[in-house]
Symmetry: C2
Subunit: 298 residues, 2 copies
Amino acid sequence: MRKNNFSEFDLIRRFRKQISTDASVFKGSGDDCAVLRFDKKHYQLFTCDMLVEGVDFTKRTDLRLVGRKALAVSISDIASCAGLPRHAVVSLGLPRWISLKQVDRLSGGLFSLAKEHAINIVGGDISRSDKLVIDVSMLGIVEKNKLCLREGAKDNDFIFVTGPLGGSIRGKHLKFTPRVKEARFLAAHAKINSMIDISDGLTQDLGHILKASAKGALLYEECIPLSKESRGISDALYAGEDFELLFTLSPFEAMKIIHSKEFHFRQIGQITKKKGLKLVKKNSRIVSLKAGGYDHFR
Amino acid sequence: MRKNNFSEFDLIRRFRKQISTDASVFKGSGDDCAVLRFDKKHYQLFTCDMLVEGVDFTKRTDLRLVGRKALAVSISDIASCAGLPRHAVVSLGLPRWISLKQVDRLSGGLFSLAKEHAINIVGGDISRSDKLVIDVSMLGIVEKNKLCLREGAKDNDFIFVTGPLGGSIRGKHLKFTPRVKEARFLAAHAKINSMIDISDGLTQDLGHILKASAKGALLYEECIPLSKESRGISDALYAGEDFELLFTLSPFEAMKIIHSKEFHFRQIGQITKKKGLKLVKKNSRIVSLKAGGYDHFR
């Protein structure tokens, strides 16, 4: 009985048309986080992410990893904006099959990642539910001059990623490290023009940057780092939930971060004035890429 | 296959033991909202509430009312702390049976209540789910000198409610008005010692105030206002989701609000030094009340 043939992005567009915001909102729906005015030097970041049993994990997934991931995806959203995560609330829908021991595993995974990042868990809500549901809402903080958004990519910007891509399907999506340190390093050492985390897949998320910035891009197959769990370039291009950061900055600024001893940022392409997304293959042929990827709703 | 015989409150206690917070948190988990340090004169309030199909509403409930309620319960949490709601994010788990028209009803109910309260909807997340799930996280703001919490009830405080009780089961829980205006009026005109919204039932929620304040209370059956949908005093005492505010203040302060022409606050009892909750019945007999009410999790 499938009535809906609309996508996640259709709905988001539809909702955004009905929403207006006041001057307290610097940037509302449409980026990884909402950006709210906070004080003279900082913005506050606000984001939420929901995980659902049967969609994002199965009954057999280790609940410690599920709890960890529930927090990690929101941390990754804050990192995309170059912010620091600070506070979170957690809503739980708990099914009847869950035991106290399993709840402890779930909360243990979440609390220990919170501790690693010095995030304050300040509240929550517990409800009965047929399937296990976890929704985390998170607040973060970012210096005004360090804020990164999807929009802002410039002609000839170099495109970078923070790590190898394509491992999510083999379990990396449950164990990834949100790239907060990398994001804070980048924002401190260079002027980043645009940034996003790869949650829907490289082409889809690069597509979000290109759309928000009204640009095109050229990717080099040879330069795209594949994780050892990846089954090839198409995993890296289309599979979601890598949670590496994808960012662009001018060639001049790139020189400031490319030789970092602490981090290994890999250049994978360049922003073009001409719209569209193209891939230079290993055999030097150039092909057009469609901005496909994972739709969390379909 | 019911493995769990633990309650919502058992779990909350269990979680709170594992959580520590830093100096940015004035009051963490355990009240209607988390209270975060914001600026010299204000605290920020942060809360979340999840509604689940089959638990909080059925497939046949008008989705406009479901969307409205999803926002209203969080507004009510902010009102309990005497704050103003400001920003919200919305996570949706959408089942396959839902049509675009139904999504529009859901979002319509939510957006129109947001507009009434000048709340900025600044983001969200959409996921696939077997049952419809809506989780709203909300930020609010409150002047430091107006903040109300559950703790703080004093000996001999008068106990008030903002309106009649006991109508939730006949549908009021879907149509209630969050008492923001009342809360703001109260905080502006008197020193409120403790406040909570009635979401679990009068005895349960008064029990939360008494526990947090280490006090007891005496209620007068004759004074408890029943809504016209109520089936009697036990609806008023034990049924959840009235969403009226329950507050206490000194007899001297009560004089400042009792003759308000704008609002009709009803005194229903008094705080006692001696612990325990007692009811003076219409026949003048005094009975002990157990702090029972609705457990959203069982």
